[in-house]
């Protein structure tokens, strides 16, 4: 009960703060942004007990976001993320550590999100974002070098699609003008642990 009350007060406080700035804050109803994130969840490895460790090339995720602002505080939208993943597996062949398999994956996800602007000022915005139950599709290609020595089984088609794409961003900062701004955000999910990007706001109709 106390927690609920606390959250309610918090929302009321920040909403009040935001509405109090009606004359000064940016209010683009339609926002587009592009960004790059380091270490997206789609590149994480989770294989407890697995004895085979690939060399990975963590390129990071690229994403495009559209947000429709319902008020100055709350916005909803969609994020499309693309994460190319390179995995190189090495194994022992005739006593030498040799490349036995190359895997090239492309992870695509589409996530609905809720964006809350905690602080709106003329040049700086602070926001949080949460997205969940997004589509997540992975394309998968592998190349085997020693099929007579190693058996490499690709993941099943079922494994390559799920509805668990997500993004949780506790804090993000936008710095710029009403139309254009750069941003940096921290969180976990398909947009990466830390990401940077550029936001463009469409001019509202009078």
């Amino acid at each position: 009960m106390k927690k609920t009350l606390f959250v309610f007060c918090l929302i009321a406080f920040f909403s009040g703060t935001a509405f109090a700035q009606l004359d000064t804050v940016r209010s683009n109803k339609n926002e587009f942004s592009i960004g790059y994130g380091h270490m997206p969840a789609s590149s994480f490895r989770f294989r407890p007990g697995c004895m085979v460790y690939p060399e990975t090339d963590n390129i990071g995720a690229f994403y495009v976001t559209y947000t429709r602002r319902l008020s100055k505080v709350i916005g909803i939208g969609l994020t499309f993320c693309y994460d190319p993943i390179h995995l190189d597996y090495y194994g022992t062949v005739n006593g030498n550590n040799t490349l036995i398999c190359k895997v090239r994956e492309n992870s695509f996800s589409l996530i609905p999100h809720l964006k809350i602007n905690w602080l709106n000022t003329k040049y700086v915005n602070l926001y949080s974002k949460v997205g969940y139950m997004g589509f997540h599709q992975t394309t998968y290609k592998q190349k085997e070098y020693y099929p007579d020595i190693y058996e490499v089984n690709a993941p099943s088609q079922d494994e390559l699609f799920d509805l668990w794409a997500f993004q949780v961003t506790p804090i993000g900062v936008e710095v710029g003008t009403k139309r254009c701004a750069g941003f940096i955000q921290c969180g976990i999910g398909m947009e990466g642990i830390i990401s940077i990007g550029f936001r463009y706001g469409l001019k509202d109709k009078e």
Binding site: A41, P48, M51, I85, L87, V152, N153, L160, M190
Partner: protein
């Protein structure tokens, strides 16, 4: 309760969205698989520590993905994170039908000729490197060549003799033994 639910959902989301990886198994060459010379249905006689003759029959012969977990924790696999298989292994089981306890022996060979031996449910002996040195030994009046010997002195002492041509020749531990009858 709610917190656990949220943690569970977050965990599943994180797990499901992870990178998709192939499963890679080192194949077992035919030459290595042949290091266990038994075939299904084959019958072998052994003499135990009391001088009784026991008939063992080969009841199982399969090649499938292998994990060391079974050998490290044969009776309680819940004590560790299950290791995922990394190679193919051939496992052969011999079961004794003249003994009321239906004791069994299991041999597993993995690539590069490492042999695991499991006897009587209660003990798993150290694996044997079949690329190692061999000896000529005399057991029960018979002479065997190219025999691999694994021995350990001290508490839980053991000695076992194994040949790639014959299979298990003899195994002795404190209070128990089996010797092949030809």
């Amino acid at each position: 309760m709610k917190r656990h639910l949220i943690y569970s959902i977050a965990f599943v989301a994180l797990m499901a969205s992870c990178v998709k990886e192939p499963t890679i198994y080192l194949r077992l060459p035919d030459e290595d698989a042949a290091a266990i010379p038994y075939q299904t249905g084959q019958m072998l006689n052994f003499i135990d520590q009391d001088g009784d003759t026991l008939l063992y029959i080969v009841t199982y012969d399969e090649t499938k993905p292998f994990s060391e977990d079974y050998w490290a924790y044969p009776n309680d696999s819940k004590t560790s994170i299950t290791q995922q298989p990394w190679c193919y292994a051939r496992t052969v089981q011999l079961r004794c039908y003249t003994d009321s306890t239906n004791t069994r022996m299991m041999f597993t060979v993995i690539p590069e000729k490492y042999l695991y031996f499991y006897w009587n449910y209660e003990m798993s002996l150290p694996h044997l490197d079949l690329n190692g040195a061999t000896e000529t030994v005399e057991v029960n009046g018979e002479t065997y060549e190219n025999v691999h010997v694994s021995s350990y002195s001290g508490d839980f002492w053991h000695v076992w003799y194994y040949s790639e041509e014959v299979g298990l020749i003899a195994v002795k531990t404190e209070g128990r033994s089996l010797t092949l009858v030809r």
